[in-house]
């Protein structure tokens, strides 16, 4: 049982440094400049939201931090060490749950745990149960994936991402496909889990209000090529309610900035 206690101890959050990252995608027709000289520092345990219109390279940046893609220029440092490939220190969540339909709920959560050599089978189950409890789905341990609602799927995906005890959580529009009510519940959950489990979180979204609700900091991206335009500190107590008036002030400010950048972008194209 001590192995489980050891396993469930919070892994210290990582500090991420993005240094001058540029990325181009070559398709048959054209070369797309996805990211242009992006630099960003994310502190240990910080919750950072990346916002911007679609196609601004925010997901690409997340993939690069995850190690799923390699930057053409620059590098990403995780606690001072360059990221060379994917690893369980940095777990990723996608817009689709990407849960495996051939496994039941608990086996999905255990998938990443099975790749940890120091745990016994029984201990893995206990750890998986703990995380399912954390997302409120302990009762659905033996359910099949197709039986879950969209919100439940994302909760399981969250449990699966948390289970290997990563130091960083990378979330790529994880709530974009959910209905508003389910989303609001998950905003509460993710804030609670972030405070409890002390992860560094990078959260990509195109929903400004969502970004203001969740992030300690909101980083605004503009497209063609993807660049960081502005950063906003969100200085509100937690847990935050997406419908609060204080939050609206921040989100209006960010949205205005976003519109400004998009318009200047359009003016550039037109001119």
């Amino acid at each position: 049982m001590t192995a489980i206690r050891e396993e469930l101890r919070n892994a210290p959050p990582e500090k991420l440094v993005v240094e001058g990252v540029s990325k181009w995608f070559r398709t048959r027709r054209a070369v797309v400049h996805a990211l242009d000289n992006v630099s960003l520092t994310i502190h240990e345990g910080e919750f950072v939201c990346l916002v911007g219109p679609s196609g601004c390279g925010k997901s690409t940046l997340l993939n690069i931090i995850a190690g799923l893609e390699i930057p053409d220029r620059g590098q990403v440092l995780a606690d001072g060490k360059p990221v060379t490939g994917p690893g369980r220190e940095r777990m990723m969540m996608f817009q689709e749950s990407a849960l495996f339909p051939w496994l039941d709920v608990i086996d999905n959560v255990m998938f990443g745990l099975k790749l940890k050599p120091n745990l016994k089978r029984k201990e893995r189950r206990e750890v998986a149960k703990y995380y399912l409890h954390l997302v409120g789905l302990e009762k659905f341990m033996a359910a099949n994936i197709h039986e879950l609602s969209g919100g439940m799927k994302q909760r399981v995906a969250l449990a699966r991402a948390l289970a290997p005890n990563p130091r960083v959580l990378l979330m790529d529009e994880p709530f974009a496909a959910l209905d508003a009510l389910t989303r609001e519940q998950l905003y509460g959950d993710i804030q609670r889990i972030w405070q409890e489990r002390k992860k560094t979180i990078m959260f990509v979204t195109h929903n400004v209000r969502e970004a203001a609700c969740l992030g300690n900091r909101v980083v605004l991206f503009s497209p063609h090529p993807g660049r960081i335009q502005e950063k906003f500190e969100i200085d509100l107590p937690r847990p935050r309610d997406i419908n609060s008036v204080d939050l609206a002030k921040y989100s209006t400010e960010i949205r205005d900035a976003l519109m400004r950048h998009m318009n200047s972008d359009l003016a550039e194209v037109a001119g």
């Binding site: 995850a66 190690g67 799923l68 994917p86 690893g87 369980r88 940095r90 777990m91 990723m92 996608f94 689709e96 990407a98 495996f100 339909p101 051939w102 496994l103 039941d104 998938f111 990443g112 790749l115 940890k116 099949n144 994936i145 197709h146 039986e147 699966r160 290997p164």
Partner: protein, 255 residues
């Protein structure tokens, strides 16, 4: 329960009409035997052990050939899906040979192996192999790339990703390919058994052919019924568990 009653009533009625028409001498008994004489042939065949022996011979050929087809077909399908080189070479061959009705392998098999068990096995393997290769290849190609990405972030590497993610994710396709392979193998084996006499064992196909030579219509129809029953049983025993599993886990439609 009501459905079962309807089904039973339907078949009893069908047999009744058949028997009645035969009794009325509507058809010549040489061409259409009565259901009772077919039943008595099957009973005699079972009691003497001839039918069991023939079924055993046929099933042995089928199962060994089918398993060989799977053992080679699955990895080859994975190779054609994974490597461009294999796709351009082996993949093209598989696609071409899959269009060849597998009974067309019989003459070649006889010339290569003579009238031996090996010839029969070869025909079954050829019937199974290509459709399994193509189904596996197809299955792997339709696996959403996000599964592999998710697995990689959890620390899964090359071979582990293939065994634990790509192969299970393509299971629905692989199972339907296995089913198609089974159907091809079964058909080609029957054709081969009717077509050639193999002295090492008389299968159901040979018995069916003797029925024709002896003009024993009760034997012909009796063997045909047994072939149908074996086909149905194979479907139930071999594939129903897989399909039930797929249905439960994936929520795919039952057929």
């Amino acid at each position: 329960m009501r459905r079962a009653v309807v089904v039973i009533a339907f078949f009893v009625l069908l047999l009744g009409i058949w028997e009645a028409l035969v009794r009325m001498r509507y058809w010549s008994p040489v061409l259409v035997p009565s259901p009772l004489s077919v039943a008595s042939y099957i009973k005699a065949g079972l009691l003497s052990g001839d039918l069991e022996r023939a079924s055993f011979v046929t099933m042995r050929r089928l199962i060994i050939g089918y398993v060989l087809g799977l053992v080679f077909g699955l990895p080859l399908g994975l190779l054609t899906a994974r490597f461009k080189f294999c796709e351009d070479t082996l993949g093209v061959i598989a696609l071409g040979l899959q269009t060849l009705p597998s009974v067309c392998w019989v003459p070649l098999a006889l010339l290569w192996f003579g009238q031996t068990e090996a010839a029969m096995l070869f025909v079954v393997v050829m019937g199974t192999l290509w459709s399994v290769v193509i189904a596996t290849d197809n299955g792997v190609r339709t696996v959403p790339p996000i599964y592999a990405r998710a697995a990689r972030t959890m620390g899964s590497k090359q071979l582990h990703t293939w065994i634990k993610v790509i192969v299970p994710a393509s299971l629905p396709f692989i199972v339907s390919g296995m089913k198609q392979g089974w159907a091809f193998a079964w058909r080609s084996l029957m054709a081969a058994e009717i077509y050639v006499t193999i002295l090492s064992g008389f299968g159901l196909g040979s018995l069916l052919n003797y029925g024709r030579e002896l003009q024993a219509m009760d034997q012909v129809i009796g063997i045909m019924l047994i072939i149908i029953v074996i086909g149905l049983l194979a479907d139930k025993i071999l594939f129903s568990p897989w399909e039930r599993f797929l249905y439960r886990r994936w929520g795919t439609a039952k057929n």
